[in-house]
């Protein structure tokens, strides 16, 4: 791959890849590191990919694998039995438009890692459930299950964020009224 082609690939994919990394990693620095590492692996191994139309999927898959490899070394997260993870059946949807990006990202990052990976691929690049299944090497049913339950957990967390934000606002208004009164 020529330097020009590489630059074009970077321009197209580095931001979504970073955001995917950010949803998985615990810090912006780690996400940036994962993104760079993914592109460096592309430089050394990308030639082996015969179907260049799959470069995007290759990058996301590679970043995810790199993340998992790092996690295996660090063992920072306890094993989560996903089948037993509780599903939050919330009847109310949070007003996401009222929240800023950082809040949404933070809520996403609070989810268990398997949910984060599936949801981020779904939201960020709007990968189909089949593509996500291929990238993460999990069955389609598992993708759907994680999307369903992951979204429910995300709604729950965003609602909590809304409530927290609302609590912060109300006392201030009361204080103002008290001062005025």
């Amino acid at each position: 791959m020529s330097a020009v082609d590489f630059q074009q690939l970077v321009d197209r994919q580095y931001a979504p890849l970073f955001r995917f990394g950010l949803s998985l990693a615990k810090s912006e620095a780690e996400a940036a590191d994962l993104t760079q590492q993914t592109f460096f692996l592309w430089v050394s191994k990308g030639d082996q990919l015969r179907d260049r139309t799959k470069a995007k999927s290759w990058l996301f898959t590679t970043l995810y694998r790199e993340f998992l490899n790092k996690r295996r070394h660090e063992v920072r997260f306890p094993h989560v039995e996903l089948e037993n993870a509780s599903e939050y059946d919330v009847g109310v949807s949070p007003n996401v438009n009222a929240l800023d990006s950082a809040t949404v990202v933070e809520a996403l990052r609070e989810l268990e890692e398997p949910f984060r990976a599936v949801l981020t691929l779904f939201y960020l690049e709007q990968f189909s459930y089949q593509e996500i299944a291929e990238m993460l090497e999990i069955p389609i049913g598992t993708v759907m299950s994680r999307l369903s339950r992951g979204k429910a957990q995300l709604r729950q967390r965003l609602l909590s964020q809304e409530e927290t934000a609302a609590r912060k606002i109300i006392p201030m208004e009361k204080e103002k009224r008290t001062e005025n009164g």
Binding site: Y14, R19, V96, S101, Y123, Q126, S128, K151
Partner: protein, 249 residues
């Protein structure tokens, strides 16, 4: 399909509408069209997904990330020596060189006839082919030895026992680089010929010959050369090593 199952499937429906034609969603979408409650849930779900997608896409990316990737990409680029094809080509070249090298070394290490031996085989061939004649012909080796000794030609001090029993044909003398050489030809039992070559003491006889017979094949010839005293001797025949060995016993 109940609503719970429909919600499960529709959770994978992308907010951009790319999945409208996917048959895996058709039943759930139909269910949503029939059930107002499910339709309401689906509409809110798609709106929620679209809003989350938009927020995530707006996440700021570190300002220097792109430049760092491009800079790192340059130094990560494998040299042309490490590209798979080049690696294979280099490996193949090494294998080829090793094979050719081993053949060359094997050929170089292969024992060869000394120049005087090659010359002697040439003289013998010329006699066999009728291009030259024996100097003296007799069916007795003893007679031939006597004739050679009388003509101051080199003579084997001891003739191998198997040759002594054979009928001789004749002998010939020649000079190689000023050194006298003689040949006695014997008739083998199988109709072929076997020849005893003797060369007077010289630098050539002292160099490259041993006391034990050294067997060397060259073309159709099998030869055994050894040194006794200062003289060098060679038994030669057109045949195999095994045939030759049988005359050295």
């Amino acid at each position: 399909m109940d609503n719970h199952e429909a919600k499960f499937i529709l959770s994978a429906y992308r907010p951009g509408g790319q999945d409208a034609g996917d048959p895996r969603f058709s039943d759930a979408l139909e269910q949503a069209r029939r059930d107002p409650m499910l339709e309401q849930w689906f509409r809110e779900s798609v709106a929620f997904d679209a809003a989350v997608a938009e927020k995530l896409s707006a996440t700021a990316v570190p300002a220097d990330l792109r430049e760092n990737i491009l800079a790192g990409g340059k130094v990560s680029r494998p040299s042309r020596w490490t590209k798979p094809f080049v690696r294979w080509a280099i490996a193949a070249a090494f294998v080829l060189v090793a094979i050719v090298g081993s053949l060359v070394l094997r050929e170089a290490a292969r024992p060869r006839l000394a120049a005087w031996q090659t010359n002697a085989l040439g003289v013998i061939s010329s006699v066999i082919n009728g291009k030259s004649k024996f100097d003296f012909q007799a069916h007795s080796a003893t007679e031939l030895v006597s004739w050679l000794a009388a003509n101051h030609a080199p003579v084997a001090q001891e003739i191998p026992q198997r040759l002594v029993g054979l009928q001789s044909l004749g002998c010939k003398t020649f000079s190689w680089n000023g050194t006298p050489v003689s040949v006695i030809c014997f008739m083998r039992e199988d109709g072929g010929l076997v020849h005893l070559v003797a060369m007077s003491p010289s630098r050539q006889t002292r160099a490259g010959t041993t006391h034990d017979p050294q067997i060397v094949t060259q073309g159709a010839w099998a030869t055994a050369t050894w040194q006794a005293g200062d003289a060098a001797y060679m038994v030669a025949l057109e045949g195999s090593r095994e045939q030759l060995r049988s005359y050295l016993l």
